[in-house]
């Protein structure tokens, strides 16, 4: 059992240091000078400190107020009070055979900031009064959370790679640095990641990286479809579908490829063999794949948003957006909600289990051109025909956090894993950077800019590589964007270097862990809440069935007093007293509520009633 070291109990190693000798008894009112604590041992330094060691240590674990680790942040006081019943014993300085002691006894301290990141229990919420039995359960839950977060924080150590950005010399604007400069500066392996595919023949290209970031698929407007391992530049397949290609997307693995063609949606394997032609999805304009739900979301010209479960081949839901042609779509990686942009300046959020949009946001005066959602699901970037680029907060308020007018509207937007925002405007790609992970990029100075051979038709950051793939009318460009991607990958989840066997293994596991489509909702954490409405309903039904409320408060029944004072009259009097008190409380509460309501009502009324209203006829 280990927890984040809290100021309450830290390892007491200072004991053994020579300067820790006490000259004077420490009083409780004095500031503790050294973490030696234990105010009960005054007097000159003793020789036989070792004898006392064990006893003091025990005492210290309760009384010492400071730990020598991180002093700046503390866990909530509440958690400090509850102690492990199992009697967590700090492993004191272990004696080795040689007699020397470990200068850093016990487990290494856990960085609290990191540990807090993994804490999920919202302690700010007030809980109603709980019985001791319940309280013990709550305490157990909190303790477990603490332990687990400590463990997770410890395992952060394993994330060896650290992200970094391009930094200009003093005064230098990083946007002036060209791709050629970057390529020249970086090592050969990284330089190889920058390349241009000159494909002028088959028109503007859409591209898509696989989830591991290893494979790249692209489809040209004039029917050219290809997939390749872009790191080694090994071509997997190349075909011409002899039909307009609207969009292209990898399914859960690189072995399957969905292509939105002029008429139907077709699925190919990595050899270029057509596996399926899905006629239920026709005239598809945009594709999105929800990897944890195995859903392929398609937006069509006819205005339908269709969810296709690729694991069983069934259409889960076909939703009519009632907003004309759909050609702007993005998925929220946090909650798998699909964002659709419409020509009336709104963005609507969809889940397959609800027929209407979950949320509709009015974003622009003109029609939407592009939508992108960042990996944490916090921000949504939109660009409209009014040449504005806006970033919205998706955490409940849906308010624009920042907005910029661009010289030309951004036709395509993309967020990287670490929150960089790329916008394709005409033949130029601009990239903005926020400070730190998942922070909002301030849309002032672009971090990088790049001019392409033709107008941008598709943008995507490559996962786990500092690369931005741009599909344009002149082919494909792979740009180097330092600091774009997450440097550490989860080898069990999406491993760029996985073998075929590993992929197969992962596929089975992923299918077993498939999330049902109906769980998609705006706030996924709401699933961990109790369904209050049906809870109440059940309670009501039960009381109806029983004829009384078993959980209701029993009406006060006074106990008869002894020694002749328990007359019926006095009993009744006492009973009435309590009842009256309760009644009074109730009335008082309702009065207060009424007053509040009146105040609330009075305010808006005051707004509407102006002195000038008398002139309005």
């Amino acid at each position: 059992m280990e927890t984040v070291p809290r100021p309450g109990r830290g390892p007491q190693s200072k004991k053994n240091k020579p300067q820790a000798k006490r000259k004077k008894p420490r009083r409780y009112w004095e500031e503790e000078t050294a973490p030696t604590a234990a105010g009960a041992s005054p007097g000159p330094p003793r020789k036989r400190k070792n004898l006392e060691l064990g006893r003091h240590r025990q005492k210290n674990s309760h009384s010492s107020k400071k730990s020598w680790l991180s002093k700046k942040s503390q866990f909530p006081r509440k958690s400090q009070e509850q102690k492990q019943p199992g009697g967590e014993k700090k492993p004191g300085p272990q004696r080795s055979l040689s007699g020397f002691q470990d200068p850093f006894p016990g487990p290494a301290p856990v960085p609290e900031e990191v540990a807090r990141k993994f804490c999920r229990i919202d302690r700010s919420k007030e809980l109603p009064h709980s019985l001791p039995k319940t309280r013990s359960k709550l305490e157990v839950a909190e303790r477990v959370e603490e332990e687990i977060s400590a463990k997770a924080a410890r395992s952060e150590l394993l994330l060896a790679e650290e992200p970094g950005f391009l930094e200009g010399e003093d005064g230098e604007d990083t946007a002036t640095i060209r791709q050629a400069d970057i390529v020249e500066a970086v090592d050969i392996a990284s330089a190889a990641k920058h390349f241009d595919l000159n494909l002028r023949q088959f028109g503007p290209y859409r591209l898509n990286y696989s989830r591991t970031g290893r494979h790249l698929a692209f489809g040209g407007r004039r029917g050219h479809v290809a997939a390749l391992d872009w790191v080694t530049k090994k071509l997997m397949c190349e075909i011409n579908v002899m039909e307009a290609v609207r969009d292209i997307r990898f399914l859960h693995s690189e072995a399957l490829l969905a292509v939105a063609q002029n008429r139907w949606l077709r699925i190919y394997d990595n050899q270029g063999i057509e596996l399926h032609c899905i006629r239920r999805c026709d005239r598809v304009t945009r594709l999105e794949f929800l990897p944890f739900h195995f859903l392929l979301a398609t937006a069509s010209e006819t205005g339908f948003l269709t969810y296709l479960d690729v694991s069983v081949g069934k259409i889960v839901a076909a939703l009519n957006a009632r907003a004309g042609r759909l050609n702007v779509m993005a998925q929220n990686p946090y909650n798998a909600v699909i964002h659709l942009g419409h020509s009336n300046g709104t963005v609507s959020l969809w889940s397959p289990s609800v027929q209407e949009p979950l949320v509709k946001i009015l974003c622009h005066r003109g029609g939407l051109q592009a939508v992108a959602v960042d990996s944490t699901g916090t921000y949504m970037a939109t660009s409209g025909l009014d040449h504005q680029l806006k970033i919205f907060d998706l955490r409940g308020t849906f308010r624009p956090l920042s907005a910029r007018t661009l010289p030309q509207g951004a036709g395509h937007l993309a967020f990287s894993q670490r929150g960089l925002l790329a916008a394709g405007m005409g033949d130029v790609v601009n990239i903005w950077v926020g400070r730190g992970k998942a922070s909002l990029p301030p849309l002032e100075q672009p971090y990088l800019t790049h001019r392409l051979a033709g107008p941008v038709h598709s943008l995507q950051f490559c996962p786990f590589e500092d690369v931005l793939g741009v599909g344009h009318s002149g082919g494909i460009t792979s740009m180097l964007v330092p600091g774009a991607a997450e440097p550490n990958f989860d080898g069990l989840e999406s491993n760029p270097y996985r073998s075929r066997k590993q992929r197969q293994e992962w596929e089975v596991k992923a299918l077993l862990e498939k999330v049902p489509a109906e769980l998609i909702c705006l706030n996924p954490r709401a699933l961990a809440e109790v369904d209050v409405i049906s809870l109440e309903q059940r309670k009501k039904e039960r009381t109806e069935r029983l004829g009384f409320d078993p959980e209701a408060k029993v009406p006060f029944q006074p106990k008869p007093k002894r020694k002749g004072r328990g007359s019926t009259a006095s009993l009744v009097k006492r009973k009435k007293k309590v009842l009256d008190q309760e009644h009074r409380d109730k009335v008082r509460q309702s009065l207060e509520q009424q007053q509040q309501q009146q105040q609330q009502q009075a305010k808006p009324a005051g707004v509407r009633l102006s002195a000038l209203d008398r002139f309005v006829r």
């Binding site: 687990i148 009336n344 609800v354 956090l401 907005a403 922070s439 961990a528 000038l612």
Partner: protein, 773 residues
């Protein structure tokens, strides 16, 4: 004991009952015998009886005993009657023979012995006995069972139980024993062993070296005594100090506390000065603390003369010198507390104070920014504030504030302290008054500005507003002049000047697109909603404008809000590479293009459509009333006749108001309020046992269990089964020995038997003792 008492009481009661019976038996006898004796004198007796009954009618002696009027010497063989003789018959009388004989002495003795003995108590009846038995049995069993309570509780709370339960191996084998059997075998081991021996390192007893052992032995009795004495002394000192502290805490004198506080403050300051010389880093920390205190002071209204006491004093201040002084003191204190502590090295101190004041707040702000970190609101705020203002209107710094600031600074320099305080006080008062005035005038102004949704109305209103504004200014000025000092008037003048554009700007704004363009800059800076209101910084208290702004911001209307959202002119991006299509465009053309865009979108009224849609959604989501009116029931019916309003009102069941919509305050959003049934099917519907409120239960299921979110260890820990059984093993019931109890419950039993009514608390304690033993 009680039982015995009860028995005694019972016996006494029995006797009483018996005697009463006897009397009852006696009563009817008497008249009977009398009637037999004197049958002839019947009429007389009847008369007598009648008289008696009449006499008893008054209720006093209704149950008068019938008494015999004449002595009866006749002794019945069935009845021992003492009546008539007037003295009781005593047992000894019977025993005493006519003449005394010695042969009866033995019998007499025996009898006396019998007499001295109490009567044997009646045995309790069967039910009583059984009840007592039951009680004792219950106590006994409950005691023996309650011994298991802690174990049961422990097992219930245990994270994991492994069956069959095994005894814990409490005693570890000391490491010496382990080592004793170990012998070095390989040459390397031997070599190491030799080395250790050479250095007198402990081999068999790894805990203590010989040196340590020696030192252990070295502690003499004297030393120990001394040590003990020291400890005692320390403890005593501590208790003295505590007592003193407690005593001092109880002192209620305000003056005393004031003096103590002052002393402390002085001391702290002195210490700080010293610290600054000795340890500048620590001093900086100390300084931060002071700074924090200052911030707190500035945030609070503690010494701002805004409390109840201060207000009462303010009334008195005109006449009472002391009250005035008290107020001044308060203000001085505030000033003192809010004054910045200047810690600059001597050479730097020469520089202007202004510079410092400019510098420090910036630093503070930056720190706050950093601390806020990823909070996008704060970030946004900073950006918009800093950059927006600087970029957009560098030529228009907030002039009035600066003026004020400089004024106040001048004041500070010129005037003596008291004067300043007086002035400030005056200012505050005037401010308060003015704010009241403003509030009077405020709603009118703000509503004018906010009503801009309908443009036609606005044009009509425009003239009116101007008139009103003028009037307002005039009236206000008049009032002010009556109130005030020169300074006030100065301030007053600058305030309305500022107000005017604010008030007039709104109605004009939305009229044409050109206007909108022109106003673009100002709008951006003064927007209420987005970007967020510009923080006025430290002058909030002093700036009169602020009081006007605040209520306006609160009362916002949707339409304006939405307009703002979409029409705010966002700063344009300057990027190095401009798309080729636009590159050749010059600035003017660019502007022209923007104009075109705006005009193009002016036609399709996106906002209006959206608002309409939202309204419909809101209407649809409202719970509907149920109308149960039956037309023609109880009144005339037919074509063209409607049920009366009264009736309709009577039979209309109003639907309860639902909770407020989530998008109530979000003008640009429609949030679907419908419940997602499919997702709800996966939610928990029944609260498990110990939880009484859903929030409690929710807290326990917040932690994800899967291995995706946890480390392997944590995952294993989270998914350990609660009960583990070993296959093929018999799970025996738990025994006392397993848990560490000795099976000696006899002692407990005897205790309970001796006094079964012992309170339960005692028993529990005893139990605990037993378990500990």
């Amino acid at each position: 004991m009680q039982a015995a008492e009860m028995n005694a009481i019972r016996a006494a009661e029995g006797l009483l009952a018996l005697s009463q019976q006897e009397e009852l038996v006696d009563l009817p006898n008497c008249p009977l015998s009398a009637s037999e004796d004197e049958g002839d004198s019947d009429g007389e007796r009847k008369h007598q009886k009648l008289l008696e009954s009449i006499g008893s009618l008054n209720g006093k002696n209704r149950w008068k005993l019938a008494e015999r009027s004449e002595a009866s010497l006749k002794v019945s063989e069935f009845n021992v009657s003492s009546e008539g003789s007037g003295e009781k018959l005593v047992l000894s009388d019977l025993l005493e023979p006519v003449k005394s004989s010695s042969s009866l002495a033995a019998v007499k003795k025996q009898l006396s012995r019998v007499k001295s003995k109490k009567a044997v108590e009646l045995p309790l009846n069967k039910e009583e006995v059984e009840r007592i038995h039951r009680e004792i049995a219950f106590n006994k069993t409950s005691q023996t069972l309650s011994k298991w309570d802690p174990i049961v509780l422990k097992n219930r709370q245990a994270e994991q139980l492994v069956f069959p339960l095994e005894k814990k191996q409490s005693d570890f084998v000391p490491i010496e024993h382990v080592f004793s059997s170990w012998k070095p075998r390989t040459p390397l081991e031997q070599e190491v062993f030799n080395l250790l021996h050479k250095n007198k390192q402990p081999v068999t007893d790894p805990l203590l070296t010989p040196m340590e052992k020696a030192s252990l032995k070295a502690m003499s009795l004297e030393e120990a005594k001394m040590r003990r004495a020291e400890l005692q002394r320390a403890r005593a000192l501590q208790s003295y100090y505590e007592a003193r502290a407690r005593r001092e805490k109880k002192i209620k004198s305000k003056k005393y506390h004031k003096i103590v506080k002052k002393g402390k403050a002085k001391k702290a300051l002195k210490e700080f000065e010293q610290l600054r010389k000795v340890n500048p880093i620590a001093a900086m920390e100390e300084l931060e603390k002071i700074e924090k205190a200052r911030m707190m002071e500035r945030m609070s209204l503690k010494h701002q003369n805004s409390g109840k006491w201060a207000k009462s004093k303010a009334i008195m201040a005109k006449y009472d010198l002391e009250a005035r002084q008290a107020m001044q003191e308060q203000l001085a204190k505030n000033k003192e507390l809010t004054q910045k502590l200047q810690v600059v090295s001597e050479n730097e101190e020469d520089k202007g104070a202004e510079e410092e004041e400019l510098l420090v707040p910036d630093v503070v702000n930056e720190v706050q920014m950093c601390a806020d970190g990823p909070n996008p609101w704060m970030l946004r705020n900073c950006n918009s504030d800093a950059k927006g203002e600087i970029q957009e209107e560098p030529e228009q710094p907030p002039k009035p504030m600066v003026q004020e600031f400089s004024e106040s600074e001048d004041d500070e320099r010129t005037g003596t302290e008291e004067e300043i305080l007086l002035q400030e006080f005056e200012e505050r008062r005037s401010l308060r008054k003015r704010s009241e005035l403003n509030q009077d005038a405020e709603p009118v102004g703000s509503q004018e500005t906010k009503d801009s949704s309908s443009q036609e109305v606005l044009t009509e209103l425009k003239a009116l507003t101007q008139k009103l504004n003028k009037k307002k200014h005039q009236s206000r000025k008049q009032k002010m002049s009556s109130a005030g000092t020169v300074l006030q008037i100065q301030r007053e003048e600058c305030a309305p000047e500022e107000e005017e554009p604010l008030l007039l700007q709104r109605p004009e704004r939305a009229q044409t697109l050109e206007d909108l363009e022109d106003l673009g800059h100002e709008e951006f800076s003064q927007n209420k909603e987005f970007p967020r209101p510009v923080l006025k910084g430290e002058q909030t208290e002093r700036n009169p404008n602020n009081q006007i702004d605040a209520p306006k911001g609160k009362k916002k209307e949707e339409m304006i809000d939405l307009q703002n959202l979409l029409t705010t002119k966002s700063p344009s991006v300057k990027s190095l590479a401009i798309p080729t299509a636009i590159e050749e465009l010059e600035d003017e053309e660019e502007k022209h293009q923007k104009q075109i865009i705006k005009e193009a979108f002016a036609g399709d009224d996106v906002i209006k459509d959206f608002l309409k849609e939202k309204k419909e959604a809101v209407e649809a989501s409202k719970p509907k009333d149920v109308d149960l009116t039956l037309p023609g029931w109880g009144e005339w019916g037919g074509i063209g006749l409607k049920p009366s309003a009264k009736k309709r009102r009577r039979f209309l069941i109003k639907a309860p108001k639902g909770p407020p919509r989530k998008d109530k305050n979000l003008p640009n959003v429609i949030i679907n309020e419908k419940r997602n049934i499919h997702a709800a099917a996966h939610q928990v519907r029944v609260l498990p046992y110990p939880f009484t409120h859903h929030k409690q239960f929710e807290r326990t299921i917040q932690i994800p269990i899967g291995s995706t979110w946890n480390t392997q260890r944590a995952f294993q820990k989270l998914t350990t089964p609660r009960v583990v059984t070993k296959p093929g093993h018999i799970i025996k019931p738990i025994k006392a020995e397993d848990v560490g109890y000795s099976s000696s419950s006899k002692l407990d039993l005897s205790v309970t038997q001796s006094n079964p009514k012992r309170p339960t608390g005692h028993r529990k304690k005893q139990l605990k003792k037993n378990t500990v033993d």
